[in-house]
Symmetry: C2
Subunit: 217 residues, 2 copies
C-alpha cells in the first residue's frame, strides 16, 4: 500500500471531512500541515500552488496521484478502499447521501470560508459582526432545509442515512462546528444535533476534530 499524505489545517472544515473519512476507513496517513493564516497563508506559496492551483485545502497524495476537493478525495477513498463503505449500495440511496453532502459542500460551506469572509471585509467593508451574521445567514438557510429533509425521511437513522456513518456525516459534523463558531443557535435543529452527537461519540470523528490535530493552536 502506498503512503497517503494529507495536506490539512486543523480548522479547515473541508480537510476535517477527509480526516473523518480516512479514520472511518481505518487508513493511516501522514498529515502535512498548511497554515492558512500565518504569513498571509501558506496556501499562497508557489510550492503549494504547484500542488493545487486553487490554493485550497485539502489535498491528498496517494503515491503519484494528487487529488483535490474534499468530496472527490472521499469518493476516491471509497473506490480504492471500499470497506467500510461511506455510500450505501443502491443508486437512489447513494444519490440521497451525495445530495445531503453536497447541500453542505455547495450551498453552505463555500459562502462562509476564509477567503469569502476576507473579501467581505476588504471589498465590501463588512465588519466582524456583519461577517458573522453573513455566515449565520447561510448556515441557517442550509440547516433549515437539511433539518426538514432529515427529519422528514424514514431513511434517516442514527446517522444521516441509516445505521452507519456516511459521506453525509463527514460533511455534517464539520459544518456543525462552524455553526457553533459563529454562535448560531441550534435549538431549531434537533435532528442535526442528534446525529452530530451520535457521530462525535465515534473515535473516527473525535480523532478528526480540530482540537485533536497536531497543528491545533
Amino acid at each position: 500500500m502506498t503512503a497517503l499524505r494529507l495536506y490539512t489545517y486543523f480548522r479547515s472544515s473541508a480537510a476535517y471531512r477527509v480526516r473523518i473519512a480516512l479514520n472511518l476507513k481505518g487508513l493511516e496517513y501522514a498529515a502535512v500541515p498548511v497554515h492558512l493564516l500565518r504569513g498571509g497563508g501558506e496556501q499562497h506559496a508557489e510550492s503549494f500552488a504547484n500542488l493545487n492551483p486553487a490554493r485550497l485545502l485539502p489535498v491528498l497524495e496517494d503515491g503519484a496521484a494528487t487529488i483535490t476537493q474534499s468530496l472527490a478525495i472521499i469518493e476516491y477513498l471509497e473506490e480504492t478502499h471500499p470497506a467500510p463503505p461511506l455510500l450505501p449500495a443502491e443508486a437512489a440511496a447513494r444519490a440521497r447521501v451525495r445530495a445531503l453532502a453536497l447541500s453542505i459542500a455547495c450551498d453552505i460551506h463555500p459562502l462562509n470560508n476564509l477567503r469569502v469572509l476576507r473579501y467581505l471585509k476588504s471589498a465590501c467593508d463588512r465588519d466582524d459582526a456583519q461577517r458573522e451574521e453573513w455566515a449565520r445567514h447561510w448556515i441557517r438557510e442550509g440547516f433549515d432545509a437539511l433539518e426538514r429533509q432529515l427529519a422528514g425521511s424514514a431513511r434517516t437513522g442514527t446517522y444521516c442515512h441509516g445505521e452507519t456513518p456516511s459521506l453525509a456525516d463527514c460533511c455534517l459534523v464539520p459544518q456543525m462546528a462552524n455553526a457553533q463558531r459563529v454562535h448560531l443557535p441550534l435549538d431549531g435543529y434537533p435532528t442535526l444535533r442528534r446525529i452530530h452527537e451520535n457521530c462525535t461519540r465515534l473515535s473516527a470523528f473525535a480523532a478528526a476534530a480540530p482540537a485533536a490535530q497536531p497543528d491545533a493552536e
Copy 2:
C-alpha cells in the same frame, strides 16, 4: 424504463449541467419549468419546498425517487445509465474529473447564484455594478486555477479529460455562460475557451443551452 422528470429553469446553471448529462446519455425526460423570478420565485411555493426543502433547482424524479443536487443527479444517472460514461474508468482519473467539476460547483458557482446576489443587495447594500464585480471576482479566482490545472495536465484533451465529454464539461460550459453574462474578459483562459468551443459543437450541449429551452424568454 420509468419516465424521468427534470424540474428546471432555462437560466439555472445547475439545471443546465443536468440537461447536458441527460442529453449526452441520450435520455428522454419531461422538463417541468420552475420560474425562479416570477412572483418572487416559484421555488418558494410550499408545493416545491415539499419536493426539495432547499428550494433550489434542479430536481430529478425517476419513478418514486426524488433526487436533488446537480452533481448527485449526474452521478445517479451515471450509475443507472452507465453508457456513455461521464466518468473515466480508473480511480485517480475519476477523482480528477470530479475535482474539476467540484471546483466549479463548490468554489465558483455558489458565490454567484441568484440568492447570493439578492442577499448582497438586501443585506449588504451592493448595487448592480458592485454585484457584477463580486461575481466576476469569484469566477476569475476559480478560472485562474482551472486554466492552470487544465493547461498543465497531459490528461486534458479535446475536453476537460481526454477525448470524450465528462462530468467536468457538464459543469464548465454553464459556468462559461455565466462568465459571459457578467462580462468577464476570457482572454486569459485559452484552454477553457477551446474546451468550451469543442463542447458547444456537440448537439447534446447545444440542445441543453438556456436559449434552446421551452421556457426560455
